[in-house]
């Protein structure tokens, strides 16, 4: 029973079966030294290619525009400063966008966790008519592309005067994120044996009490993982925000960043500041991502991995 699921942090890290490790060891041991160095060199090149854009963002963010405008790029940020970050934060548009993103993300995380938790409880603790249909619907809705519905969602929000509002965009986000959150939490709830609850009920607790005192604490890791997933989705979302939040005063961080890209068409923009802005948007995501990835294994493919 795969109990831990996540699309975002789904990283099955190396500590798997000992058989696999032994296999790797014996295979590498039998290999001639030259090819081991070759593979190592290729590995370093691959790592460099994947890390370079991230490095380049931080490097450029530390360099003044004069340096970035020179013909030859500067590869190390020596003599760099945090001036770009200061300029971005004090620029006047960053803080409102940050506030918007934070509020939306918090609403989405809170509502998603609550709604999805109740639903996960229903489908993993009860057997009822329509259960299978609901699970099927959840799985399908989870796959629906935002691009297939965003025009209609825009019209809906326009018709109830919720364009450019936190509430409007939050409702759409919750609906978009809740299916996968249900699916994720279902795995966690199902991983906790109902016997535990029943034993507590035999000992005189009500069903609700048994749940709150026994099951709920065991669920904490699942709730954290799902919460981080919901946060990342809300924080990074671009497509729906683009149509629902068209007003400059109600931009979220991704929309705010997009403004820089648009500006780069017509004029030579200060890339140092853009990269500082990107760094500021990316940091919370990277921190959260690294924080949760260790405790989660991939649920998207877990069925297939288990074989």
């Amino acid at each position: 029973m795969s109990s831990q699921i996540a699309r975002v942090g789904g990283t099955p890290l190396p500590r798997r079966s000992s058989g696999a490790r032994r296999a790797t060891a014996s295979r590498t041991a039998g290999r001639p030294r030259a090819s081991r160095y070759l593979y190592g060199a290729i590995g370093i090149v691959v790592a460099l290619i994947w890390i370079f854009p991230v490095y380049w963002m931080i490097n450029s963010a530390m360099l003044p525009n004069v340096v970035l405008q020179s013909k030859t790029p500067t590869f190390l940020p020596f003599g760099g400063s945090l001036d770009n970050f200061v300029a971005v934060v004090s620029g006047g548009t960053f803080l409102p966008a940050l506030g918007m993103s934070v509020v939306i993300a918090l609403i989405v995380v809170a509502c998603c966790l609550f709604f999805a938790f109740l639903a996960a409880l229903a489908i993993s603790r009860f057997h009822f008519r329509g259960r299978k249909g609901f699970v099927l619907a959840v799985l399908f809705i989870q796959m629906l592309p935002a691009e297939g519905l965003f025009i209609a969602q825009y019209k809906l929000m326009a018709s109830v005067n919720l364009l450019n509002t936190v509430l409007g965009v939050s409702i759409i986000y919750i609906a978009a994120v809740v299916p996968f959150t249900i699916w994720m939490l279902r795995g966690f709830v199902a991983g906790i044996p109902a016997d535990l609850e029943e034993a507590a009920m035999v000992d005189g607790l009500s069903r609700t009490q048994a749940f709150l005192r026994i099951t709920f604490p065991l669920l904490a890791p699942g709730l954290v993982a799902s919460g981080v997933y919901a946060f990342l989705q809300a924080w990074n979302e671009f497509t729906v925000a683009l149509v629902v939040l068209q007003d400059n005063s109600s931009q979220t961080l991704p929309l705010w960043l997009r403004g820089f890209i648009q500006a780069s068409v017509s004029k030579a923009i200060d890339w140092g500041q853009v990269m500082a802005a990107s760094t500021l948007v990316a940091i919370p995501v990277i921190v959260f991502f690294l924080f949760v990835q260790g405790r989660m294994t991939s649920g998207l493919v877990s069925g297939a991995v288990k074989g």
């Binding site: 029973m1 789904g10 099955p12 079966s17 696999a20 032994r22 296999a23 790797t24 295979r27 081991r36 593979y39 190592g40 590995g43 691959v46 790592a47 994947w50 890390i51 963002m57 790029p73 109740l118 639903a119 229903a122 603790r125 009860f126 057997h127 259960r131 609901f134 799985l139 399908f140 796959m143 629906l144 592309p145 691009e147 297939g148 519905l149 965003f150 025009i151 969602q153 809906l156 759409i172 978009a176 249900i182 279902r186 671009f238 497509t239 149509v243 991704p254 997009r258 890209i261 648009q262 890339w271 802005a277 990107s278 990316a282 995501v285 991939s298 998207l300 877990s302 069925g303 297939a304």
Partner: protein
């Protein structure tokens, strides 16, 4: 799990008739309680179902109806929308531009998904043969790339490919090619090449980690035995490793196809950086242009329905696999 669930379902679903008859007092107290137990799951589902019905269900229904109406600028200002049944669909089917966009989307999707799968699998194989230090270095690099928010990643790539001072042009020029002030986004073909590089860069980590997890299931003993029996490295890969990791490869490929078919953010943000939208539209950006650009909601809805049907069709296989896991 299944047995337990079934047992519990049985237990909560059948109000035992035996206990209901003898003493009236406890029975009346008990029957409503039993019924409440049966209704509990439905109550638990209310919030999730409500928000889904509001933000997904209602727009979906609106979209199906609107796709059969003439809904343009005039309707935006309050005129009633005439019902035209399948006229929008017929007009779209006859529109060569839509077919160009569909073909472009499918081509982009398949090339990008194939590249992602190939590179991701190679990285996974590489992870399997390198030493522990290099392995950790690769994993950290992949994780950082994976964690980057899409829009932040797009600003970086726009900066890397910037025609004035981008490091890509500098690198190619200093290698002896003439890429001074070369604008990558002007020509549609090189536009999609850049888009593909970006999407591959973003999606490879997921593929690599998933396939690597699959590879750890391949037993070393079997491979060694095959080697002793004289199987070449290529034979061992195709006849032993691939069949074992095939389920992972299948699911991951399917997800890549679904995700690359609906690619919007990357294309939109590359268009923003200066290219002709009509030459570089994929399905997502085309719907966006129809809807918010020219306020042609009838047509936009029709294309959206097409995208939804396509996605649901492709997803069906994935959903079936997930359901199988759910029941196990």
């Amino acid at each position: 799990m299944t047995v337990q669930e079934a047992a519990e379902g049985l237990h909560s679903a059948s109000p035992s008739p035996v206990s209901a008859s003898p003493t009236a007092g406890p029975a009346t107290a008990r029957v409503p309680r039993r019924r409440r137990v049966v209704l509990t799951p439905y109550f638990l589902l209310i919030p999730a179902v409500a928000v889904l019905a509001l933000a997904m269900g209602y727009p979906l229904v609106w979209q199906i109806i609107t796709s059969m109406q003439q809904f343009g600028l005039a309707q935006q200002f309050g005129q009633p929308a005439p019902f035209v049944w399948f006229d929008n669909y017929a007009r779209l089917a006859a529109d060569p531009y839509l077919w160009t966009v569909i073909l472009r989307s499918i081509l982009f999707c398949f090339v990008t998904a194939a590249m992602t799968m190939a590179v991701g699998t190679l990285v996974a194989l590489l992870l399997n043969v390198v030493g522990p230090v290099v392995k950790v270095v690769i994993q950290i690099a992949m994780l950082l790339a994976w964690a980057m928010p899409v829009v932040a990643a797009m600003t970086i790539w726009n900066w890397l490919f910037d025609w004035r001072r981008g490091v890509v042009n500098w690198l190619l020029t200093s290698m002896g090619f003439d890429f001074q002030d070369h604008n990558w986004l002007q020509n549609p073909l090189s536009f999609f090449f850049v888009a593909m590089i970006i999407v591959v860069w973003m999606s490879v980590p997921f593929v690599a980690f998933s396939v690597y997890a699959g590879l750890t299931q391949v037993s070393g003993e079997v491979l060694e035995a095959a080697q002793m029996d004289g199987a070449s490295a290529r034979q061992r890969f195709w006849n032993i490793v691939v069949p074992i990791i095939r389920p992972v490869l299948g699911i991951v490929l399917l997800l890549q196809v679904i995700w690359d078919l609906r690619v919007f953010t990357q294309i939109k943000l590359l268009q923003d950086a200066g290219s002709i939208a009509s030459d570089t539209n994929l399905l997502g950006t085309y719907i966006f242009q129809l809807g918010t650009g020219s306020s042609n909601f009838g047509m936009a809805s029709a294309v959206s329905i097409f995208v939804l049907v396509l996605t649901v069709g492709i997803s069906a296989f994935y959903v079936r696999t997930m359901l199988k896991e759910e029941e196990s």
